[in-house]
Symmetry: C2
Subunit: 362 residues, 2 copies
């Protein structure tokens, strides 16, 4: 058990920018919201999964929608309480804890807005170990835990409880509601008993994000190489370096889709690179050859500062390094790859773990 205040939120948000793989909404925005809540209501208690009682009622909460919209249409903080309380009402019980839906992007810290307001502890864990674009792409789902009942709420006061017959149906129905709500909504979902957290979530992910953020910050302060530090800490691989030529964006069915073209620089000069994105980066290619794919993490970093760059920020002229980090090993089972592998997203190739791709190519 520990207290999280403004300073720790700085580091968590920076680390979550890396783990967001381009999506999840700009964690800088989430950080400002969380820090404002902490200033107003006091620091938030974070507990480890081992400290959560077996019969605790844990309700993850966050934002849903296109990150391009989320960062322009800021929540005032009460909508997430609205969503959370609707789900509590539906369940007929009070939550004992909340937690992050995804450790990538602004959803890493949005639960702190809720926790500060309601005086609830946050569990140090998340459902993805990164960010993914769709709600059924949560590890508890792989272990048979229902996303539903789920609450969706917006800034205008609209709210809904969604109970899909599968997690994919819950995603589909809540996505349509989110589109109607203006491509951005606040959600509470995957209600779980404490004992269900142990095997089915990514534990310690707030600590992981915080340590990663601190590492980047301290390496910068020491005039070191933050990109090298990230790769060493996370067993990551440098994919390529270059200059952004073009970002073709479209907001489609509630998702921010993009195709990013990057011209190689330095050792990669003369090569062209492509990123395919649905909120998060899905596939990295060099001259048509796949270098990395979901569920491994593909991350665009500023080549000087190591600052993670979200897809909505990315634009012509940016000098970037693209790196890949291995995902949680549980995402590599056959059942998990059916949910989050490249074929799910419409790509005609099988997932190959990043370390095998790198060794095969090297």
């Amino acid at each position: 058990m520990r207290q999280i205040g403004e300073a720790q939120l700085d580091d968590i948000a920076l680390g979550a920018g890396v783990l967001g793989t381009g999506g999840g909404g700009d964690p800088y925005i989430g950080k400002l919201l969380a820090q404002q809540s902490v200033r107003e209501y006091g620091p938030v208690t974070v507990v480890d999964v081992s400290e959560v009682d077996d019969d605790a009622l844990v309700i993850p909460a966050g934002m849903m929608g296109a990150p391009t919209v989320m960062v322009e249409k800021l929540p005032h903080g009460n909508e997430i309480v609205h969503a959370f309380e609707r789900l509590q009402h539906h369940l007929g019980g009070r939550a004992t804890h909340t937690m992050s839906l995804e450790i990538g992007g602004l959803n890493s810290v949005v639960p702190f807005c809720l926790a500060a307001r309601l005086g609830l502890p946050v569990v140090d864990a998340d459902l993805m170990g990164r960010a993914f674009p769709e709600l059924q792409m949560c590890l508890p789902g792989v272990f048979g835990i229902d996303c539903a009942p789920m609450a969706v709420a917006d800034d205008k006061g609209n709210a809904s409880i969604v109970e899909g017959v599968t997690n994919a149906w819950t995603e589909r129905l809540s996505r349509s509601l989110t589109v109607d709500m203006g491509c951005s909504s606040m959600i509470a979902l995957y209600p779980m008993a404490g004992h269900q957290l142990r095997e089915t979530t990514i534990t310690g992910s707030l600590a992981t994000a915080e340590a990663l953020g601190r590492l980047i910050r301290e390496t910068r302060e020491a005039h070191g190489d933050p990109i090298a530090a990230i790769l060493e800490r996370c067993d990551g691989h440098h994919l390529f370096s270059g200059k952004v030529l073009d970002v073709e964006r479209r907001t489609e069915r509630g998702f921010a889709r993009a195709h990013v073209r990057i011209a190689g620089l330095d050792g990669d000069a003369g090569s062209n690179f492509h990123l395919r994105t649905q909120n998060e980066h899905l596939v990295a290619e060099r001259e048509g050859e796949v270098l990395a794919s979901v569920p491994d993490l593909i991350i665009v970093l500023d080549s000087e500062t190591g600052q993670p760059i979200t897809t909505e920020e990315l634009r012509y002229g940016f000098r970037v390094a693209v790196v890949a980090l291995p995902c949680d090993p549980r995402w590599r089972s056959e059942a998990a790859l059916d949910l989050v592998g490249p074929r799910y997203f419409g790509y005609d190739f099988d997932y190959v773990p990043i370390e095998q791709r790198v060794n095969g190519a090297g």
Copy 2:
């Protein structure tokens, strides 16, 4: 208080075909479902509004979607129980009664499926006195009663509780869910206390539909003129007679839209007529001149038998008489016309009551 069995359902459904103004789904389908339920579970008790206790919990129920889809994707009867029970759970109480959302089309009798299964009485009233395409077009809404909380359910087991901040938002959100569910869903909505029914609903509408159906049946049996009988009973007006030339249909945003062209016959020979339809007929025109519009009822009848014809049945070659009946006078207030008048549907003219149009033209 009276019992409704298979025979009465025949007459109610026939009358509801007239009051459906082309939409609301083919009442023949609703009748088969209701009669099957009555055969299986026994007759249903119908009570007058005056017999309902002030603190009764009345939950109207029915189908939502495009009638073209509703009549092909038949419910098996349990989905409506599913929707109803979700709303009861959300409200934390048991309903004492159910009732029809609209007396036009299949929704006039769908509540009998529910009532038979759950042993609930049906209140002899509805929320429209006809059929309308959108959920906020209910008379209780004009008196400030909320459509929400509302339950939506489908045949697959998906369900949702929708709480729009206005009735128009509840319509919009539940329409998106209905489109995802395959353009047809079962709904429970406008939960009301008994005392709220008295001023805000159309009372006696099941009796009205039954009497109208019986009149048509008996007039046919006596080789009389059923169209003349309908006009006399309902203070209606004959608009024109002709042969259907073309029905241009499209299913759009969950609605069945249509543009019907009719060539005049008999006294109307040489004239062309048009009907504009969104589930229900909205506007009737002769050579560009408006003859009748919402909220008055525009009805297409078989010119020989007086049988009401739904928009999805209508096709080239049908010989039809188009008639108009005055709507409930409460639909003619300024507030009500904002909800259901021609301008709401995008037409650039003000509503003129049918009897004034006829007198003005005559």
